[in-house]
Symmetry: D2
């Protein structure tokens, strides 16, 4: 089974492998008449692009996005928008070891169990390179929701969390970690560099906030805004946990503590707190929508790990090659893209059924 | 917008409100020829049924499920299975306050923002009574996956977690909390009772494990088994967080710590750990599939909370009526049902596309 | 495989068998705030109801529809609307013959080939009784599109077509054939009665026109309005052909003859012809949407037909029991319902993506 | 609204415009392990390619298909297969007239009504060039159903039908009309050439037969095999009618005439006739699946037709440029492709739910 499409009205389908000629996305259902050019999408790809510091993989990819359809005279036409990004730096290395042995933590064994064989070059379809296609699609989604501001950051690396008192969003462009706390960024430099030099890796937590989401987006149950966001975030490579608002912390509060009390506001209620992360009963409340996402440490490490071969024999494997020592860092633009993609879809759905 | 269907090949659609005449589910895509009767489904409804201890809502509902279609001579026919559960104890109380004022933490304001008005009787569609329909559908799903054993339990209430060393699954039928740690169960009795007597509420964490899932179910990206589970669990009322395997804890591990090393086993690999919760690259590995789910405290509390009225004026509200002091407790059979519903769907998908 | 849901935003799912306790539909995605009661739906069910003349099956079913959810204080709430119709006249007859032998033209053999067995009582799920559920759902759909007027009629029975010069829509309530040509109705009385007395059956063509559909509903390709209508109409039992506008006759025209020329009109163009049936490039043009639907003769006939048994032996079968000698007649309200269901969906889709 | 995806398990999404840089399809859900190369797909594109005789458009397109993903070591991997076809001969002509005036019979007005504007170059998204992408996808679908043989032909042009007694499928490669009747082909040469020289156009009927389809594919109701085929065929540009088996002719038969009687056969029943076109109750019976499809005459004609401009003023338009005088001819490989795409999907669905 294979599903590479996400969304209900605003839908995108991604394709491509790490070492194929290109990868891309087809965005379908985009409203017509939106001004768009490749320059609108490129900054998001640039933010995700590898090789920009020693803390991310050294693969050099320009990640130039091309729009192949769906745009006429600088505007979306309402027909599918085909986005393509060529792969440039598929280094021809020796894949004989990974072809034969399963890398623990990777998709290798599961792919073989499912499909009978796999494209083992650079992880094939399971490579984080796929996220370039989402980020491009996310750039289109942002055009659909100009009323919404989305921003994400890394709030924790290797178990070391930022201090909320130091939170300064402007900082995220000042360090290679999308870190809003200048002091934490310094500490992370050491943490990530040590992991990198040791051939190890560390995990991270990414947070994302969308402001400007009006009350009323989402649905009561099987397409709850919480559900859609959880599905979207879990679809990112290496993600293993999702929280909406207080998430697991809410399970430790009492009903009184967790209630987001309301006072009369200018336009709808003025909330006194936002434990719910901007979503009640599956529907947005007009407060900022807040999500936290857990990225496991990169599974590619230089330390040898016990494993088995395709034929079931005992073996050992070290993952050579170029890798992110903390894959969560470059997850920031991906989390933002998924937030945009979910919200664009919800906006259209709400307009359709309750317009 | 409203989506009340879940699943791709094995699909179910639920309908019904807290105070309507009935609620139900239509299960579509169930394979033919499975032996089934109402008696196969009733035990799951009984486990979820309210009013069985002082720690859950006192609403008395027999929750008898009826099969209205799709079964002939005791076997599924492959056509849609309509399940209906009548509402019996819709107490005719005074809803004038909740009709006018929004209960913080509840769906009230969001529903009004979305739909313009709402069925305010007992929470209407946003009531946890809807989960009775899922539990019935989940009973059908279990018949599709006899090779899988699903069990869930409460692992934390009000911030008080079980001790893994005391874990004894047989205990969950010995206390009213689905608690596998007899000592924790005693402590929780006090915690929940205090919350109940104070008109307050507490949150909970539910864990679920599915054993017997073969390697190969799931999909690489937008229908990753992690994604499907996250979407399914987040669709349960009051859930605000989902973890697969180690979840957020994985973000605090190094790559070495997080690697689930493999040794040759009898049938596929023998894994030395299960940080990944049985899913790698979105696809099952043959290990137990493990999920943790965070339930916020019940939003219905007797303490007055600041709020506004439908017309935007300042007000205050206390939620009278019958409520669960810890809605997570009765979440256990619901989490199990959602696990079964996701896995039944994945089994059919795998058989269809890689059979 | 089994799909019992139709629609994209405005969706309905039907369930139920000919001889089960009930059948029904769940309508999901209906906009909130529409005034509705059972009395709004009943007239459509009454039009489809069997046993109203000697020209339709003598099964007596009151076909009273109940609304079980999704409505509060007389208005739709935006949550799923569950509709149920009880089966009353499931005559307990001897089904031993049909259980063993396949009726040619019926679904019997195909069901067995697909599902391994079947509910043979009265055709089970393949019975035309299922259409009662669609007609109820279609009644809800009509409320979504008050700007549209839908009317259908029988234009041909047993190869005998109406004379367009005699077309008087008011006539369709004056005869038991939904025939707008009083003279044809007289001829059909003879045709259908002869078929009935001979234990035979005849086919029919139903036409349907929707006026008031604004320009812009539909989609260019895989959800062309033509495609959606064709899929909807073909889903009706016994339908084997669908034409949009001139249909097959258009294949005999030249480009000049087929062009629907335009002149300036009051509100959009004034068209000089409607060969296209109100749809160009998959999208409505503002002209009346016109569809023609071919119903085969009822497969249930009293003449013995050569067949085989479940075990593959030569046999012969006559279909005893109560049947429509011309199943197309009662197809009229069903075709209208499917037109309404498609258009309601398209209205919401258009509002969502191009609103 | 815009839906450019077709299928349920075996799905494809097309993108691209007549005068953009390229067009393509993403095929998702293809089973893994199928041997595939571009050479497997090219023959189908070559059959559809324009400019091969004077009876089709003179646009010269090599229509070389490239596989960009989803294939490794010559086999499908189970991940999405991206197919791209570059546009080469987008002649830079003057589109000022068609930009301003609506061509009757074309999608021009409907697109403007829907989207507010349109890519008017060569028909943009509504151009029959889109079908190149489907034909490529159809080539992949054929690999999924090696047990099925699909063949289509033109059975009628300009109202002149073939003589079934002359039917010789080998003939279809001997004339430029995919005509299995050598004598009809001669007559059509005159008919189409006259239309071409007069700047006019003619319609056509295409028939398609799939043999080797086992009994049991399809579904009872809303995904009846008839419905899926009707939706698929109606999604082809210029198609306005679809018949399964006898189609409208069945409406003129009696029940006895229409019954496909059965005798014991070697493997399942031996049918004495195939009025049903190989589908009963929405499910294949094992007989050949037969479909007839009506193509209207090409709307592009040189005769001036009355129309209006975008600003609503009276005007007149002749469609200059390169066009097919009978668009139905090149519809043959497209109808075959859609048949393959539907059947591949049904095979996987059947395997999934009744396997």
């Amino acid at each position: 089974m294979s599903f590479n499409t996400f969304g209900r009205l605003f839908r995108f389908t991604t394709w491509g492998e790490s070492h194929g000629p290109a990868l891309g996305a087809v965005v379908d259902g985009c409203p017509p008449g939106l001004a768009i050019s490749e320059a609108d999408l490129q900054p998001f790809l640039d933010a995700r692009r590898p090789g920009q510091s020693k803390f991310t993989t050294q693969r050099q990819e320009p990640d130039q996005v091309r729009i192949l359809s769906g745009v006429f005279e600088g505007k979306t036409t309402g027909t599918p928008i085909s986005l393509m990004i060529e792969n440039v730096d598929q280094r021809s290395k020796d894949y004989s070891e990974v072809a034969v042995s399963y890398r623990p933590g990777h998709a290798d064994y599961a792919y073989d169990a499912k499909y009978g064989f796999r494209d083992y070059r650079g992880g094939g379809r399971s490579s984080a390179r796929e996220t370039a296609a989402r980020v491009a699609a996310g750039g289109v989604a942002r055009l659909v929701i100009p009323e919404v501001t989305i921003r994400a950051w890394v709030s924790e690396i290797g178990g070391d969390a930022i201090d909320e008192d130091n939170f300064d969003f402007a900082q995220i462009r000042e360090n290679p970690f999308f870190c809003p706390d200048a002091e934490a960024a310094k500490r992370w430099e050491k943490i990530v560099d040590e992991a990198r030099l040791a051939g190890s890796s560390v995990g991270a937590v990414v947070e994302c906030e969308a402001t400007g989401v009006p009350a009323g987006w989402g649905a009561p149950l099987y397409a709850k805004l919480d559900s859609e966001l959880a599905s979207a975030m879990m679809s990112i490579n290496a993600v293993k946990g999702v929280e909406i608002g207080d998430g697991f912390s809410a399970a430790r509060l009492t009903g009184e503590q967790n209630a987001d009390a309301m006072r009369p506001g200018n336009d709808g209620p003025s909330f006194l707190a936002n434990h719910a992360g901007g979503i009640a009963g599956g529907i947005s409340t007009g407060q900022p929508v807040r999500v936290r996402v857990a990225f496991k440490p990169t599974s590619s490490i230089l330390t040898p790990v016990e494993t088995i071969t395709r034929s079931g024999e005992a073996s050992e494997i070290r993952t050579k090659g170029r890798h992110d020592p903390c894959v969560g860092i470059r997850g920031v633009p991906v989390v933002e893209a998924m937030m945009a993609l979910v919200l664009a879809d919800q906006k259209l759905l709400q307009r359709g059924q309750c317009g």
